[in-house]
């Protein structure tokens, strides 16, 4: 027998041994067990995930923008000005409090106060009597008046609170007050030639409580 023939015969014998081994009951059992284990293992490590999005949620804050007679910060408001005022004279004017319109405009409540100077130390401000109503102006200078009764809790001087209880303004419903300023009929003569400058401050809050 040649060397090549012997090698071929050995290889053939190896293959037969391998197949005999594979055919044995033990090996087949092991293969079966492996199959079962494989299934088990895939079941254990098979993770799935599913996700969904809850979107479309937008938080939008509002705008609080108070307007006085349509302006943000009116200066040079001279409607209530009067010169040569004598006791019993009065001036009156309407101030409209409003807000911007459109989406995002928040309703608000507003209050007001006033400060009056006393540069000449004559204390004219102490003799100016204020009446605030929700009415309209009638008459002409120097005897202008506000119609209606005074708003409950409203101030009566020009150097202190004017409106202390918040009044509601919404984008569709502005608020208007009439301010009447009268020089007290009993004002002392020392007030002759006296002057006072008045600044009214309006505050708004989104707290509607």
């Amino acid at each position: 027998m040649s060397r090549g023939t012997r090698r071929a015969a050995r290889r053939s014998a190896d293959v037969r041994r391998t197949w005999r081994a594979l055919a044995s009951a033990r090996v087949r059992a092991a293969l079966g067990l492996g199959l079962v284990l494989s299934v088990g293992v895939t079941g254990t490590f098979a993770f799935w995930t599913d996700a969904a999005s809850v979107s479309g949620t937008t938080f939008s804050s509002g705008t609080l923008d108070m307007k006085l007679n349509g302006s943000d910060n009116p200066t040079g408001y001279t409607v209530l000005n009067i010169t040569n005022m004598v006791p019993g004279n009065s001036m009156a004017a309407v101030i409209t409090v409003s807000t911007v319109t459109g989406l995002g405009a928040a309703p608000f409540k507003w209050t007001a106060s006033a400060t009056a100077t006393n540069a000449d130390t004559k204390n004219l401000r102490g003799s100016l009597v204020v009446k605030i109503t929700a009415g309209t102006v009638s008459g002409t200078a120097p005897t202008m008046t506000c119609s209606g009764t005074a708003i409950a809790g409203s101030g009566t001087t020009l150097n202190g609170p004017l409106i202390t209880t918040g009044r509601l303004v919404t984008p569709n419903t502005p608020d208007a007050i009439c301010i009447q300023v009268t020089l007290d009929a009993n004002a002392p003569t020392t007030l002759q030639g006296a002057t006072t400058d008045v600044v009214m401050n309006f505050s708004a809050t989104s707290d509607l409580a």
């Binding site: 197949w19 594979l22 055919a23 293969l31 079966g32 492996g34 199959l35 494989s38 299934v39 895939t42 079941g43 254990t44 098979a46 993770f47 799935w48 995930t49 599913d50 996700a51 969904a52 999005s53 809850v54 979107s55 479309g56 949620t57 937008t58 938080f59 939008s60 804050s61 509002g62 705008t63 609080l64 989406l103 995002g104 405009a105 928040a106 989104s206 707290d207």
Partner: protein, 165 residues
């Protein structure tokens, strides 16, 4: 005889290989494992309406709480995770002027501090339903800088299967 053995081995191997590949290929073919609802009765993949109505104007001190429901339809135990997504362009969250809180089931309220924050991670049994409360508060201390701000946010809700016991 020899061919029969080879055939048996090949079939066994094919069976094993097919089992290994089965979960990843078959899963997407099934229906949603995760469903959402606004009322706990009508379920869908997404919520049809925003949690908070768009036309509501927020002012300092306002607080509102909305809810939605999550249902585990996977047929097995799963882990629920909720992640918040927001860009905080308004800086209101960072500045503690806008407060976002989330509460899942009976768990405690979790406050949102940043985008991508994992708000909850809880187990859900098969078929379980979790109620999610979302509370938004524009703090009463918020100043005028918070006017005219918009802050869109969303939640990514994820269910991940858990091993069977």
């Amino acid at each position: 005889m020899k061919a029969k053995r080879i055939f048996t081995v090949v079939v066994a191997m094919v069976a094993v290989l097919s089992m290994l590949g089965a979960p990843s290929t078959a899963a997407p073919k099934t229906w949603s494992k995760l469903l959402l609802s606004r009322d706990g009765h009508t379920w869908s993949r997404t919520l049809k309406t925003p949690l908070f109505p768009k036309r509501v104007v927020w002012v300092p001190g306002d607080v509102d709480t909305r809810k939605f429901y999550i249902r585990n339809k996977s047929g097995g135990r799963a882990r629920l995770g909720i992640v918040i997504r927001l860009n905080d362009k308004s800086k209101m969250v960072k500045a503690h002027q806008l407060q976002l809180l989330v509460k899942v089931g009976t768990a405690r309220w979790v406050e949102v501090a940043r985008s991508g924050q994992q708000l909850v991670k809880v187990g859900m049994s098969s078929g379980a339903i979790k109620r999610v409360l979302v509370r938004v508060r524009l703090r009463s201390t918020a100043n005028n800088s918070t006017m005219r701000k918009r802050e869109p946010f969303s939640f990514t809700v994820r269910l991940t299967s858990l091993p069977k016991h």
